[in-house]
């Protein structure tokens, strides 16, 4: 598969503080990536470096297998950073026209992209009259002007109201469905979970994990079980090697799997051993639980 972006031991120091430390990962075409990390973990700095606005201290990065210079590569990239920056005295359409000039693309897609983000009726309004949500949507329209190979979004829903968040997510989903590679930086886990197939997790500038979302923890999931014969069930579970551990939570038993096991065979075996279940659910850890596990392991 084609590499879009490769980072090699990228490091950035701001004086005594190391914001990004020896970060390496690869973005391949067609996937939707999430960069996850708490606030101040170096997500925006990393994106700043690859977007040519922050100088790296050491290491290197290459766009499109290193066949183009960074600023030429950026013409094929659509990026939305935390706060949308446009010329406040220019209208939406004028601002987009300027972006077309910079990217070297024809201005005939301006109306089409404004339509995508629902701003067509405001195209002749000055940027300074826009609300934050509209500014963010204009930023998306601007990032789409060149039909980019990769869309980079840095906290795109920060500071938006629920409606704005929903609108932005819809737009992202629509773009992802068209097969565009997406790199989404966020500290909002459900946001990443909803759209991403791969994640890179960083904390204090250090990479904790990168790879597909569902391989993040070598985990087979867990069962939520309830039975009127609670003590018998506990005894049965403690004898089973297929379960790593179990714990009691309120009136449920949570049993963690050590190997693959489906609901049907578990139910059957318990029934054969004389234990009747009143509740049986198989679950995978949510991204949030996995994330917390990963970040806590290092504490």
């Amino acid at each position: 598969m084609e590499n879009i972006l490769t980072l090699n031991n990228l490091t950035k120091r701001f004086g005594p503080i190391t914001a990004v430390k020896d970060l390496s990962f690869t973005i391949k075409k067609g996937n939707v990536y999430g960069i996850l990390g708490p606030n101040g973990s170096g997500k925006s700095t990393t994106l700043g470096i690859v977007l040519n606005v922050v100088n790296k201290t050491s290491g290197d990065f290459t766009w499109f297998d290193g066949n183009t210079s960074t600023h030429d590569a950026l013409k094929k990239v659509g990026a939305i950073i935390e706060r949308p920056n446009f010329y406040p005295y220019m209208t939406a359409a004028q601002n987009l026209k300027l972006v077309c000039q910079i990217k070297g693309v024809a201005p005939d897609k301006i109306e089409e992209k404004l339509e995508v983000v629902g701003l067509l009726d405001r195209k002749d309004s000055k940027f300074r009259t826009f609300s934050l949500g509209m500014k963010q949507r204009l930023a998306i329209a601007s990032a789409l002007l060149n039909d980019p190979e990769i869309l980079i979004l840095d906290e795109p829903t920060n500071g938006l109201d629920p409606q704005g968040i929903h609108q932005i997510r819809q737009i992202i989903k629509k773009i992802a469905a068209q097969g565009t590679t997406i790199l989404l930086a966020s500290h909002l886990l459900d946001e990443v979970e909803k759209v991403c197939s791969h994640v890179v997790i960083i904390r204090k500038g250090i990479k904790l994990y990168s790879g597909p979302v569902d391989e993040m923890n070598a985990s087979y999931g867990f069962f939520e079980l309830k039975s009127n014969q609670n003590s018998a069930l506990k005894e049965w579970l403690s004898k089973q090697a297929r379960f790593k551990s179990f714990k009691e939570e309120e009136d449920k038993l949570i049993a963690f799997l050590a190997e693959e096991l489906d609901e049907e065979s578990l139910n059957k075996q318990l029934f054969n051993d004389g234990i009747i279940l009143t509740h049986l659910v198989k679950r995978k850890e949510s991204l949030e639980e996995q994330f917390l596990q990963l970040t806590n392991n290092l504490n």
Binding site: N52, V54, H71, P88, K103
Partner: protein, 277 residues
Amino acid sequence: MLRLLNIEFIKLWNNRSSKFLIFCYFGLLISIALFASIKFNIGPIKFHLADMGIFSFPYIWHFNTFVAALFKLFLAIVIVSMVANEYSNKTLKQNLIDGLSKKEFLASKFLTVVVFSVISTLFVFVVSLILGLIFSDYNEIPIIFSDLEYLIAYLVKLIGFFSFCLFIGILIKRSAFALGFLFIWFLVVEIFPYLYVMSKYSKDLADKIFAFFPFGSMWNLIDEPGSRLNAVQSLANQVGEDISYDYAVHWYEIVIVLVWTVIFVRLSYWLLKKRDL
């Protein structure tokens, strides 16, 4: 190159205050013609500026470039704010993300400065030519087109000054502070030390030293033309003062300003490259 100029043009042309100041500037250049209408009639003394020879070829080239150069402050505001605003609106960051390189960014600004300077020079040329053809006592072609080096000096002076503005705008990042800095530089680095050296040692030494400073070297390009007027000369002769003076544009004066221009552009690029946004 056209793309870079076009980018800057969109930014400037859609900004109402920039547009207003640019119009003002070129309006002021035309208003040099108003000197022609300055007339005083105080009893028997008739004072008509146009009749005193200020619009005579080739003197008009000297006089008009000198006066026009004073108006460059209007364009300085535009140039300082066109860079400083990129920082305060954070649009510089957006431009870079959109795929403009730092070199291209600076090139688009510098090219705009050069274009402004060239247009201004052409403007002064045309206005002077028309005024001269109306008022000049000598209308022979070789006389009309002599002393045109003042226009070259004017062009270099503008490019040098605007490059200085460009650099200060990038350095300070806020238009108002940048303009204030230019003024303070003018006073604290050039005027006060000049006066100090002049009073302590000699005017000659002060002139020599400050010919190498940014404002000093730009000022030297076009010497003050007032004392060259026949009327003023004869007045001085009557008082017994010899104010004959070297008015010519010297190649080394042009070189000094061009060297400053290169320094300012290089420093701007260095700053742009070094800074994180």
